[in-house]
Symmetry: none
Subunit: 211 residues, 4 copies
Amino acid sequence: MRPSPPPVPHHKRTGRPRSADADRAILEATREALVELGFGGLTLGDVAARAGVAKTTLYRRWPGKNELVVDAVAALFEERLELPDLGSLRADIQGVVLRFAELLNMPETRTALMAVVAEATSDEPLRRRIRDAIVDRQKHLVLLGRMRAQERGELPPDDGTEDPGRDDMIFDVVAGSVVHRVMVSSEPVDEEWADRLALLLVAGIGGLHAA
Amino acid sequence: MRPSPPPVPHHKRTGRPRSADADRAILEATREALVELGFGGLTLGDVAARAGVAKTTLYRRWPGKNELVVDAVAALFEERLELPDLGSLRADIQGVVLRFAELLNMPETRTALMAVVAEATSDEPLRRRIRDAIVDRQKHLVLLGRMRAQERGELPPDDGTEDPGRDDMIFDVVAGSVVHRVMVSSEPVDEEWADRLALLLVAGIGGLHAA
Amino acid sequence: MRPSPPPVPHHKRTGRPRSADADRAILEATREALVELGFGGLTLGDVAARAGVAKTTLYRRWPGKNELVVDAVAALFEERLELPDLGSLRADIQGVVLRFAELLNMPETRTALMAVVAEATSDEPLRRRIRDAIVDRQKHLVLLGRMRAQERGELPPDDGTEDPGRDDMIFDVVAGSVVHRVMVSSEPVDEEWADRLALLLVAGIGGLHAA
Amino acid sequence: MRPSPPPVPHHKRTGRPRSADADRAILEATREALVELGFGGLTLGDVAARAGVAKTTLYRRWPGKNELVVDAVAALFEERLELPDLGSLRADIQGVVLRFAELLNMPETRTALMAVVAEATSDEPLRRRIRDAIVDRQKHLVLLGRMRAQERGELPPDDGTEDPGRDDMIFDVVAGSVVHRVMVSSEPVDEEWADRLALLLVAGIGGLHAA
DNA sequence: TGTTAACCGAGACGGTACGTCCTGTCTTAGG
DNA sequence: CCTAAGACAGGACGTACCGTCTCGGTTAACA
């Protein structure tokens, strides 16, 4: 899976092309600054300086701080988040929950994720960007997990009558619970907690099918 | 339950006392500004102007924007969030989920809540303030719901062996799921969705007890 | 004659009053920067830094670079330009021409004067400011010189029939000639040149009276 | 007399030759931009765009804004400024003063002239360029006027003892007075004022000869 | 009943970041 | 070698808020 491409300019192919090095340097500098200063302390001028790039170059590519941070953080999700095959639905869920929590505890993402989501509450384009760059890429993990469980016989196969929003709800529950635990309750997501959440979900999903 | 009082000054009781009108006017102005400008656009200078108050007065009472917003929003949770008794655990959960979603969709809270949580990721005192003013007041709803369910016989009575973090997890799951649905997925929380979540939880909780 | 007062704000007498020290420091810093960097190189940010003052303080008092420079330079004209009484009209003119040329050769004024006049060509308020702060204060020197010459008997006394714009023209000729000599022709204004100009003027004025 | 040619490149004569159209378009665009925006608002990027030319092309031909403006304005002086033969020294002077004032009131020159002179105070090459392209071409008018006056018998013929800087001073006085009147005093140069200046000068020159 | 200390409004203060603009150079592709 | 197009590093711009401060003036409890 390749990293999200930089926002494609719809120009003619004339003039000096944009430097790909600059893109890389900027995103790297952004993550570095997030670690050191947090989202609030992050300054576009500072990022530009770290990247050895002029502020204008930065503004030419991204509309502002929010979009830049989304792109900078998206790459981390890309490479870090996957669904391990651990032999059972419960173990799979536990595994992905632990990895997700680990990701949320990285200093780059800790402050950045909530902040951009907050900004996005009144910024539809930003909301779409977050979905495209981060959320939707996680969502397929739910689908994958379901398919594996169905192959194992842990869940009944689809028969065409199931709720189409079913996987979306599972995703909201998993992601939301972990985020709330980490960000709001400030409690650790350890193996035990992850297992109990997995247990609750497995039982709950069973209940949904039974209904 | 009265709204959280402004931080008490520990002075001698001499001199002119602080104006209580000012407090009210400031919190009201803050909510008004949140609706019009969102969290990011909210300015302490602007709030002061709306409240007909000097910036100094404002800074004398609150350390900064974050704390002010927490207090301004807390009152809303106080008055709006309660657990209706609808006759069954599933219906109770559905009911509180719908009320919570409604609260999250108010313009005052929509942007403010996520924003202060984001700020709180690197600000322990703010995190505590949020817990004291908002989160903990919701948490007792979980306890209340459990007790009702136990009275009804929907859940087994406590026998002293249960996980002490059990209710915390339920709270993280409920609150987190709704927040994620509303804020990140940008999908509506309607009666159907709330009911399905309630169903999943009831079954899941059952699974926890069975384990 | 006191130095030109800072632009008077028409506020109420409320709030913290503006610092008089800041005014002094800013004007001094402006002159210093003019010497070191010239008008083109002068930056309001740099002036603020030199004066130990915030940029905002500077913008609160002056609309921009042009007005600031006018005020900074005006003080020099105030203190340096006077009409010596040397016993004859011709010597008086020679004297004032030499002083004026000297002033134009100071590094503060050399670059600043022409620049603000240039800017003023499309900025009526600036033009007025220049007249008020600099030009009009010089103009009375012409009147003073005429009166002395009339007392000495070098010129006939006014009889009420003379051209009201007469002194204005003399002023334009004296000031314009010196400026052009120094700025455009880049030739020195030495005693001889000044004396020849004085001679031309005395004769010319005589011609005007004769007409 | 043709307009001053652009600085000749001393390259080999290989490769694609420079477009002469471009030169014309650039100078025209410069004058147009001067009228619309004034000197301060004039941008090389904007001039390039108006001329339908790349910025590179512009920088290849002129070192910067100042030089470009000098060349763009010089052509106007070339074609507009001449010494009419009106039968007497006084009338000749009046005539040239009126034409010069007219030139100074054109929007292209109004702001441009003072600005480049101001820039030239700390830029010797620019000063030379101004002299070559503008000032020296005017100076011969003084010589021409003197010769005509001598032919008419209004002035004594040269006898080899006269001051060599004599004509320079006349030039400084005429040009400086008009510029000061127009630019600084912001008063009109009408027929009456021009005549009075001519009268003063004729008498003054007489005084110089008598000395 | 006057003192007095803390309050209040207003607004200036030193700072910091903003997002835009222009400069003069460069790097493309094409003539 | 020139051209158009446009990206590049750099730097100043003028604005907006921040959180602090300094004023003159007000208000209520205490003496």
